[in-house]
C-alpha cells in the first residue's frame, strides 16, 4: 500500500510548467492527498483536458487520461459509470471547464456522479499565451491582453452550487497543505465534488500574482502583508446541509460567500450535502446489481467466447408467429 507521496511521482517525465507555476503546488497536493488516503495507483484515474493543467496527470503516478479541450467531464463520466470502483478525478483549467466545457460543467451537476472535479483558476489561457479566461474580472488587462477585458467573469463556486454539485470548495495552489486537505475532503465526499484552486500564473497574469494574494501591497502598521485569503472554517462558516429543509438557506449563504472578492477572498468549503443520491444510486434503483456488475465487469461471453445474452424478451415482442 502506497503511503508516501514519493510513490506517486513519475520519474521519467519532466514537468514542463514555468518556474513558479501553481501547477507544481497542485501536483504536490494531489500526491500528498493520494498518499494520505492510501489510494492504490491502479484504482485512481486522473482525467484532464487541454492547457497547462492538462499535463497534470503525466506527473502523478496514477492512471492518467489527458483528453480534449473542455471534454474532461464527459470522459470522466464514461469512466466512472463503466467502473464505479475507480476513484475518478477530473482536472482542468478555467478556460477548459468554464469556457469551452461550460455545458458539461453545468450538466455534470445534474448527475451528481461520485467523483471530484478540480479547476485550476488563474484567470488566463496560459498555454496559448495569456488570453483572458472566463474567470478574469471585467476591466482587468493582464500582461498580454491587447485591450482590457470587457467580459464579466464567471463565478465557479456559485455556478457549481446552482448546477447541483453537492460539494463546493476553494483552495490556493501555494497553500499546499490546505489544498491537500481540501482534495482529500473532495475525494471522500459522496457525490460530485468541485474544488476551485486559485493559482497565480507567473508568466501571464501580472495582476492576481502570488504577492497580490499574499497582500504584499497592503501591509499593516508593523509592515506585515495582509493576505487577501481567509479561511471560511476559521470564521465558523458551516457549509454542511444536514436536512433538505435547510438546503436552500445553505445555498444562499454559500452563494453570498462566493461573491466576496478583492480584499477578502474566502477559501475552504462553501457547500456540502451528502444525503443527495449519486448517479450510481439512481442507476441502482433501476438496475439493482449495477454496483456489483457494472458495465466494465460484466462477463459478456462464456468459456467458449460465445455471447451469453438471451434476446428472447426482445424477440417475443417483435414476433408475428
Amino acid at each position: 500500500m502506497a503511503t508516501n507521496p514519493s510513490n506517486y511521482r513519475v520519474n521519467d517525465v519532466f514537468a514542463d510548467w514555468c518556474p513558479g507555476c501553481g501547477d507544481y503546488g497542485i501536483m504536490n497536493a494531489l500526491q500528498m492527498a493520494f498518499a494520505e488516503l492510501s489510494l492504490e495507483p491502479h484504482r485512481v484515474v486522473m482525467v484532464s483536458g487541454i492547457g497547462c493543467s492538462g499535463k497534470e496527470p503525466h506527473n502523478v503516478r496514477v492512471n492518467g487520461v489527458h483528453t480534449l479541450h473542455g471534454r474532461t467531464l464527459p470522459f470522466a463520466m464514461g469512466i466512472k459509470i463503466a467502473n464505479p470502483d475507480l476513484e475518478v478525478l477530473a482536472i482542468g483549467g478555467d478556460g477548459d471547464g468554464l469556457g469551452i466545457g461550460a455545458g458539461h460543467f453545468v450538466n455534470a451537476g445534474r448527475r451528481n456522479l461520485d467523483m471530484t472535479y478540480i479547476i485550476h483558476n488563474n484567470g488566463v489561457y496560459g498555454l496559448t499565451k495569456g488570453q483572458a479566461s472566463p474567470t478574469l474580472k471585467r476591466e482587468l488587462k493582464t500582461k498580454s491582453l491587447p485591450q482590457p477585458n470587457i467580459n464579466d467573469a464567471v463565478n465557479p463556486i456559485a455556478l457549481a452550487i446552482i448546477s447541483g454539485y453537492t460539494f463546493a470548495a476553494r483552495s490556493y495552489a501555494y497553500d499546499v497543505r490546505h489544498l491537500k486537505d481540501t482534495i482529500k475532503m473532495a475525494v471522500q465526499h459522496k457525490g460530485l465534488a468541485f474544488v476551485e484552486c486559485l493559482q497565480p500564473c507567473p508568466t501571464y497574469n501580472d495582476i492576481n500574482t502570488k504577492d497580490w494574494y499574499a497582500g504584499e501591497d497592503r501591509k499593516d502598521v508593523q509592515g506585515n502583508p495582509q493576505s487577501r485569503l481567509y479561511k471560511l472554517e476559521a470564521e465558523g462558516f458551516d457549509p454542511e446541509v444536514r436536512d433538505w429543509k435547510e438546503d436552500w438557506q445553505k445555498k444562499v449563504a454559500a452563494l453570498t460567500k462566493a461573491q466576496e472578492w478583492g480584499d477578502r477572498i474566502p477559501i475552504g468549503v462553501f457547500y456540502k450535502k451528502e444525503y443527495e443520491s449519486t448517479y450510481g444510486d439512481r442507476l441502482t434503483t433501476r438496475i439493482p446489481f449495477y454496483l456489483e456488475r457494472p458495465p466494465a465487469k460484466q462477463k459478456l461471453r462464456d468459456e467458449k467466447d460465445v455471447s451469453t445474452v438471451d434476446l428472447a424478451e426482445f424477440l417475443d415482442d417483435l414476433k408475428t408467429s
Partner: protein, 639 residues
Amino acid sequence: MAIESINWMAGGAQGSGVDAAATIFGRACGYGGLWVFGRREYHSNIKGLHSYFHLRIAKQEILANVNNVDLLAAFDAETIVRHVQEVVPNGGIIVDALEMGMKVEDIPTLPPEFRVQLRKFLAEDEIGETLKDVLDWAQKRNVQVFPVPYRAILTNVGKALGITQLSKITRMINVLTIGVSFALLGYDKSLVERAVRAQFPAKIADMNVIALNQAYDFAEKTFRGNFKHKLEKLDVEEARVFLTGNQAVAMGKVLGGCRVQTYYPITPAADESEYLEAHEILKTRGEDEGIIVIQTEDEIAAINSASGACLAGARAATSTSGPGFSLMVEGLSWAGHCEVPVVVTYYQRGAPATGLPTRHGQADLRFAMHAGHGEFPRIILASGDIQECFYDAATAFNLAERYQMPVIHLIDKAMANCSQTYPVFDYGGFKIDRGNLVTEKDLDGKEYKRFQFTETGVSPRAPLGTRGAVMWYTGDEHNEEGHISEEPLNRRMMMEKRMKKLELVDKEVPADEKMNFYGDKNAENVVVSWGSPKGAIIEAINMLKGEGLSLSFLQMRMLHPLPVEEVKRVLKGKKRIIDVEDNYTGQLGGIIKEKTGISPDYYVLKYTGRPTSTTEVFGALKAILTGKASERTVLMFGN
C-alpha cells in the same frame, strides 16, 4: 420476376395514428404468415403535417418498396391529393364520406410547391376543384372509391362505450380504417384483433377492438366482395419477427456486448437508444446483465463518455445522425489516436445542415471516411438491410476491440424506420472477440505499456483499474507509456503502428464479411451499391432476369478499409458498371475509382430524401441495359 404483392398505404396528419395503424396492419399480416415490408414517411413536425406508411405484403419474402398502391386508406383529404396518382387500376381508396365535398385548395397543410404541382395536375386532366372530382378522376382509371362515414361509425362506437363526446375517440379513426381495409381485403378478422391487442394496453385495446369490429362489419356489409384484391393467410410454422432497423441495431448491440450506450436526441437515431433503455436489464445464460443508456448534454459528451467507458473496459457505443456526428469529430480523432474501441452508429438522413431531418439520404460516406483532423485508422461498416443491421451492430464491437480503433456503423433513415418481416434471427453462436485485452494475471508483475510497439501494431490493452497496471492516455503524440512525446522518430513509429493496423484488418477480415455478391458471376454488367438500396437492386435484378437481361450486384459492406483487390476482381473487364446510391455525387463510385482505378460507367442517383423503390431501380437499370439512358439517372419516386 416481379414478386406479386398487395400494397396498402395509410396516410394522415402527423399525430393521427398512422404509425400505430401501420404497425397493427403489418402485424396482422405477419400473424397470417405473410411477408411485409413497410416504409414510413413523416415530416419534422409533431402534429398536423402529412405522414404516411406504405406496406407491401406478399406470400414470399420481399426486400423493398414498390411505387404502386393498391389500397389507400386516407385519414384526411391531403392523403388523397398526394397519393391518388400512385393508386393503380383495380386499386381502391378509402375516404371519409364527409370530406368528399371539400375543395382541395382549402386543405391548409399543403406546401406552396406542392400546390403548384397539384394545380397543374388538375388543369391538365381537367379535374374539378373538390375532393370528389379528384376521386371521380381516379374512378375513371378503374380505381374503386369507398366512402366511409367515420363520424357515424364513431357515434356507434361511442354508444357501445358509453361515450358521447366524439372528440374523445376520434383518435380511433386509424383503427376504423384498418377495419375497413381488412374487410375489403377479406382477411381473417381474428388476426387483426390480435394485432390490435398487441399494440395497446388492455383497456385501450378493448375500446379499439370494438371500433375495429364496427368498421369491419360496416365495410363487409356495405362493400361486400366489391374489392378486387384479396389477402389470404398462409399456414406457416416458421417463427418470424417484424421489426425496424432501429430495433435490429439495438438487439445487435446487446448481443455484441455493448453495455454503455450514450446519445443525444436526434432523428432518426434516438429510437434505438430509447428502445435499449426500455430493455436495460438483460437476460443472459448466467446472471442478469445491464446496459446503461446515458442521455448526454450534447453529442460531444456522447462520444467522449463512450470513449471513457471503453477505456475502463466496457464495450460502449453512441448513436447519432449527421449533425450529431459533426460534433463528434474531434472526439473521433482522439479515439483513433488513442486506439479506443468505440463504436459509433451513424444514421444518415437528408443533409447538409438540418437538411431533411426526417427523410432519407446516403450522402455521409465521404464524411465518415474522412472525419477528423490528421490521419488515424478507423473501420466503416455499412449495412444493407435490417438483418445486416443486427449482425453488423454486434460485429462492430469485435472489430473495434480486435483492432483497437473506432468503428463507424453506417445506416440510413430508410433502414432505421422501415419495418420488415424476417425469420427470427439466429444468434446462438455469436462469438465475442475481445482482441488483445489483458488482465492482472496476464501482466504477472511485468511493466505495462499501453502503447507498446508490436509487430501488428496492436498493443496489449488493459482496462483502467487493472491491478499491476498504471497507464496514460493523451491526445498529444505519445510514447509507449502514453506520455507526451514530440520526438520525430517516435512520431514516425507511432504513426506507422496505428496506420498499419488497417492492413491487418484488410488481411484478416474475410471477404464475405466485407461485401456481398448477387446474381450471375459471368454477367457482363454489374451494379455497385451500399446501404438501403440493396433490397430494391436485388429485386430489380431478378425482374430483369425475367426479361432476359443479365446483371450482377456487388454490395459493399466494409467501406473502409476498402477491400481493393476483391473489388478489382469483381469489376475488372465488365462491360458496364452501374453505381446506385442515394446521394448527388456518387460517393461510393468515386471511392472505388480512387482506390481501384476502375470507374463506374453509369450512375443511378437519388437525393429527394425518399428511399429508392424496386420499381424505379428496375426502370433505371433496364434503360441503361437497353442503351436508352444517359450516364446519370436521377430517381424521383416518393411523396
